[in-house]
Assembly symmetry: C2
Homo-oligomer: 206 residues x 2
């Protein structure tokens, strides 16, 4: 009847994953029942269990699927123009985009979800941290190394510098978001954090 981009099975699989993502994000692991997910995916519970052995496996797969979206962030961070005159400008723009990406409600919610269940899923938290966070940090560190080679920055330990960069930018908004429910930061706040963070970073590393 309809256009069939994928097999029925693949469509169901995706529907379940989408529903699980939405439900787990909104109500947490314990707060989401398999019936909820089945209903949201418009699928029978049996089908859910056909595609995913149990709730834990569904959760783990759903979380790890999100690491694919990190690529965009890696690309964002990968090349900073080596232009001495516009270094602050370029870094501030990068910082703004970085902040915008990380403070998206979805991203923050996912972060909280993983932290909340890091006890029950220790290796999951570790994997996500590695494949999500550390990949971006490593890319950023490489970019900083290049800038250091070009004598635009003075850096001993590029990875540490990358951590400092993200710490200066993200500490405030991420912390707030972890403890409060929704997002408390306006665009102006974010701009302030970006400007001030980059200024401090350049004070320390130029």
């Amino acid at each position: 009847m309809e256009a069939n981009d994928q097999s029925r099975s693949a469509r169901k699989h995706r529907a379940i994953m989408d529903a699980a993502t939405q439900a787990f994000m909104a109500k947490g692991y314990a707060g989401t029942s398999m019936d909820d997910i089945a209903k949201l995916a418009a699928v029978s519970k049996q089908t859910v269990y056909k595609h995913f052995a149990d709730k834990e496996k569904l959760f783990a797969e759903m979380v790890m699927a999100t690491t694919e979206r990190v690529d965009a962030m890696v690309a964002l961070v990968a090349d900073i123009p080596a232009d001495a005159d516009r270094l602050e400008e370029n870094l501030t723009r990068l910082a703004g985009q970085f902040l915008a990406a990380v403070t998206r409600p979805q991203v923050l919610q996912l972060r909280r979800l993983i932290i909340a269940n890091a006890d029950a899923f220790p290796e999951l938290g570790a994997s996500w941290y590695e494949q999500g966070f550390e990949r971006v940090l490593a890319t950023l560190a490489a970019a900083f190394q290049r800038l250091a080679d070009e004598k635009l920055l003075r850096i001993d330990d590029p990875l540490l510098a990358a951590h400092h960069f993200s710490g200066l930018l993200l500490w405030i908004p991420v912390n707030q978001a972890m403890f409060h429910g929704g997002p408390q930061h306006t665009q102006e706040d974010l701009d302030r954090y970006a400007t001030a963070g980059v200024k401090a970073f350049l004070g320390a590393y130029r």
Copy 2:
């Protein structure tokens, strides 16, 4: 029979609170049953419900009770000697103590517990953040303001500077601890973070 420092009721109250603290920290909110707490406190369930209306109230009270221990941290941060020659040394010592205090397993565990349940207890997360975190930050900001008045630092926005200080120090270990189960950082790591963080901070703000 025994020495009675407090009424029996007060003793029971404390026993329940201690047991709740231990249990919730170890197994999370959902993972801890009221029977667990009663058993751990060596008290009947009836008594638990005599002292605390329900599980939510017990949890909330237990969390807020921990904010009392913040006083020690506030005192720690309150007075930094205004000695220009030893500024870096003094700040590094402060940073080391700050890091040691915040990366204590109990503190990190509590932090994760609150984050994990910030959805279910929104006002609790907010209160804890205010009375725990922001109090320390405000004290630190005041101390920085004094140092700025003494011309030891160059600071526009003391609160932002305090956030930057803690971000530089805590971003790495706190992040790691949130996603991994236990503590991954050795004392050497912490020392490195303290030294490097203070160096970057002074680069930015001196």
